[in-house]
């Protein structure tokens, strides 16, 4: 163990901690909807205000995202590792849940205005119908 080793290690850890802290601040405000993306394309936008279960069936696999009490989490997934189900609940802006094998990203979004399609569907939406499905 040399001096430079310690400097290198501590520098990396410090940079990591500072970035983490910055992201904590960045993640501070609550979001009001989630955006689901599959393979880089938007799959749908869903309000965090209503409790719902979203079934996402794509060529990559099956995921169930659950919204409960303003928080979203991955309830079910048939991916090989199941990491997405262990990423906890998200509700703050820019927080994400990622299911790598299924190329799926759930991201909290806080913008007030919604796409016209989303608001159209919202009027008739029951608890399980998505706000918008854009493929």
């Amino acid at each position: 163990m040399k001096k430079k080793d310690i400097i290198l290690g501590l520098t990396i850890i410090t940079v990591g901690l500072i970035l983490m802290l910055m992201m904590k601040v960045y993640h501070h405000s609550e979001g009001n909807r989630i955006v689901i993306e599959v393979n880089g394309k938007k799959y749908g936008t869903y309000s965090l205000d209503e409790n719902q279960e979203i079934n996402v069936d794509t060529e990559y696999g099956h995921n169930v995202i659950c919204i409960e009490a303003g928080k979203a989490y991955m309830k079910e997934a048939d991916c090989p590792d199941g990491y997405c189900m262990r990423q906890g609940k998200i509700s703050k802006k820019n927080q994400t849940i990622v299911c790598l094998p299924h190329k799926l990203v759930v991201e909290v979004n806080g913008e007030q205005h919604r796409t016209s399609k989303a608001s159209d569907n919202e009027n008739s939406a029951s608890d399980i119908v998505p706000d918008a499905v854009v493929k």
Binding site: G9, I12, I13
Partner: protein, 167 residues
Amino acid sequence: MSKRIAYCAILITLAMIFSYVEVLIPVNFGIPGVKIGLANIVILIGLYVIKIREVLMISVIRIILSGVLFGNIMSIAYSMAGGMLSLVVMAIMKRCKGFSMNGVSIAGGVVHNIGQLIVAMLVIKNFRLVVYLPVLLIAGAVTGFLIGILSSGIVPAVEREMEKHTF
């Protein structure tokens, strides 16, 4: 020559056993996907006792074989990106003055994670994954340090053995 081949074969086997042990007993850091990377012990020691092209060969073969046995095509892609990037950086770091095996290993661990993150971002075409960077930086430094400690303990013994059986 045949002895060199035998050594490489032994090291590949060892690296694969480490990969397997890691599948069996995942050391959980509380973060999905973060592993200690036991197979890197072999790569790191290899950097210090055998030629770089042999280490490269060992690394590539180990990644493909353990990917086929314990993973899938995607896990091979992730391991390959991480493995190759960390090998290059570790080889450069080793040439830099003032770093011991620990420093080399820390750099390797961190770059390994960055490589995998880049592949993940390309796979899902979402660059927001960068939010995982801070955690991966710290995890890479910690696991790299652990691997460095282990490897620097093992290297003297390997060197002693290799002197007995000169190539």
